[in-house]
């Protein structure tokens, strides 16, 4: 499903953020991506959804080599991926509901077909009373939940979440984690970047650990620290 072959990344002429990163992720799997702040978690996710190109190496997603994907293929691939940004990236002039519905609208679906799904999902993530609010008026945690709802509304085959529980209390964090697990059970591969050990301890899932540019795949562990 995802394969990295000797991937290296540097910004401009700066130091290599990622060095010889090689790993693969099977369909339907659940991974944590972890490492200290500044280790390159966000950068790795950006490589995956094609907002960055690697300086070296090859990346395959859904069997496609990202290096020779035309723009049309890129759009088609992104529709199969749901992304939660660390900084949310909600559109300020759209309501919460409209932000969450955006991926479906972009796919050309009719509003009346998905209206109920969007509303249901917003209730599920606890934003039922903020449906018509604009992002400016949402708290950090509320924005985060809206961003997660937007990422999962299209039932993606791959979900990438960058610190999806960074701004919420443990109770809501667990609820969101359950959403990801539920999605994973339905067939979505999930990669969650986080340095929240408490969160990772909730679930027995392999950890991709970034340290000084190198990536190691840790065995699934639970409750260990």
């Amino acid at each position: 499903m995802i394969r990295f072959d000797n991937v290296g990344l540097r910004y401009g002429s700066g130091p290599e953020i990622l060095r010889d990163v090689t790993f693969h992720v099977h369909p339907g799997s659940f991974h944590f991506l972890t490492g200290p702040s500044g280790a390159g978690k966000t950068s790795l996710l950006r490589l995956l959804f094609m907002s960055l190109r690697p300086s070296r190496g090859l990346i395959f997603v859904f069997g496609e080599n990202l290096a020779d994907l035309p723009p049309a293929g890129r759009a088609a691939l992104r529709r199969r991926i749901g992304i939660v940004f660390q900084d949310f990236r909600l559109l300020d002039h759209l309501t919460t509901w409209e932000n969450v519905a955006l991926p479906l609208r972009v796919m050309g679906q009719t509003e009346s077909d998905y209206a109920d799904d969007v509303t249901d999902l917003l209730h599920w993530v606890g934003l039922g009373n903020r449906i018509h609010a604009y992002p400016e008026t949402l708290s950090g945690g509320e924005k985060q939940r809206a961003a997660i709802a937007r990422a999962v509304i299209g039932r993606p085959e791959l979900l990438l979440a960058d610190e999806p529980t960074g701004n919420v209390d443990p109770a809501i964090g667990n609820r969101l984690l359950r959403l990801f697990v539920e999605l994973n059970r339905l067939g979505t591969s999930v990669i969650i970047a986080t340095h929240d050990y408490a969160l990772m301890d909730q679930l027995e899932a392999p950890r991709l650990m970034l340290h000084e540019g190198q990536l190691q795949v840790g065995a699934p562990q639970m409750g260990a620290r």
Binding site: F49, S51, P71, A72, A75, A76, R78, R79, I81, I83, F85, R89, L91, H93, L94, T95, E98, A101, L102, P103, R105, V106, M107, G108, E111, R150, G154
Partner: protein
């Protein structure tokens, strides 16, 4: 033809909401509202300045096209008029009884094949024709003013001018025939050069409009760069993104186009009065009338203005679409 499919997909009932200013559009019945908020905020695309510029462009295009059309209409009516007539001029010098000679010539002409009507003009008529140039003066009657006979010819079976001219010259002295051909060709030259000038002006206006729209597209995309990025991340293709921008440019084109065309229509409605006000002396007024007819645009002329609005809207839409595609390509 993706443009055609876009036209088909366009939410026509919500077009009104796209055309009207946001504040008024919000009051429309729900059926006419756009389905969901615009992904690209309208204000970030078509500000007031841009609307004014496009309205002015449309206004100029309408004035030009309407003016050329008017000249063409009145000129062809005029050419028609004078092509079905010839004028015989009688030199009063060396003639003792002008009236008698007039009658003789008129009778002679009436017998010629291809002539449908002969109308001798009185001395008063001649004087009236000269009035705009010489003023109405009693002294005119004392002058040897040439006398005219208007001859209407059958255009489906026109007479041979040469034969008539020769016959006239043989039978009478001091009679000349004017078949108006020189006038016809002169009028045609005027019409043609007006049309040519009009086309040049229209071309320049179109070029300026395209340039303005291109730069507006660029700046709209720069302003909304963050939105474009998010759209890309959620899987929007170029066609979706361009349609989000395009709809604003279509709205801009229709809105500004209507304002410009309406202003031009009002100008054309007032033109007869303006001509009268600015006309000054009788000569200039007569000349202007010659050129522009009554100064009134007929129904087809007004339809032409509608066509221009459509063209302006299409120009805005297509230009912005191509512009968006180009910029998106440069992002990749």
């Amino acid at each position: 033809m993706s443009f055609l499919s876009d036209i088909k997909d366009y939410p026509w009932t919500s077009l009104l909401a796209g055309i009207l200013p946001a504040r008024i559009a919000a009051r429309l019945p729900e059926r006419f509202q756009a389905p969901s908020s615009q992904i690209v905020p309208p204000a970030s695309v078509a500000g007031r300045a841009l609307t004014v510029v496009i309205a002015i462009m449309t206004f100029l295009a309408c004035l030009t096209a309407g003016g050329v059309y008017m000249v063409h209409q009145s000129a062809s009516a005029w050419v028609d008029d004078i092509a079905s007539e010839i004028t015989i001029e009688l030199n009063p010098l060396n003639t003792t009884d002008v009236e008698k000679k007039m009658t003789l010539v008129a009778l002679f002409l009436a017998k010629q094949p291809g002539v449908t009507r002969v109308k001798p003009m009185s001395a008063d008529d001649s004087a009236k024709l000269l009035e705009p140039w010489l003023g109405s003066t009693a002294a005119l009657s004392a002058l040897p003013v040439p006398r005219l006979i208007a001859v209407e010819i059958d255009r489906s079976n026109p007479p041979d001018m040469k034969v008539i001219e020769n016959a006239l010259n043989q039978n009478f002295e001091g009679v000349t025939l004017d078949d108006h051909r020189r006038w016809q060709s002169e009028i045609k030259t005027i019409t043609r050069s007006t049309a040519l000038g009009g086309i040049v002006v229209l071309g320049l206006v179109a070029a300026a409009t395209i340039a303005v729209i291109i730069s507006a597209t660029r700046s709209a995309m720069a302003t909304n760069r963050g939105i474009i990025e998010v759209l890309h991340f959620v899987g929007a293709n170029d066609r979706f993104i361009s349609s989000e921008f395009e709809r604003h440019f279509l709205g801009l084109g229709v809105r500004a186009g209507l304002v410009g065309a309406l202003a031009a229509a009002v100008t054309f409605l007032l033109l007869p009065f303006l001509l009268h006000l600015l006309g000054g002396g009788a000569v200039t007024e007569a000349e202007t009338r010659r050129l522009l007819g009554t100064g009134e645009l007929d129904i087809w002329g007004y339809l032409l203005l509608v066509v221009i609005v459509v063209v302006v809207a299409a120009l805005c839409t297509i230009t912005s679409r191509l512009g968006v595609f180009r910029v998106l390509k440069s992002y990749a």
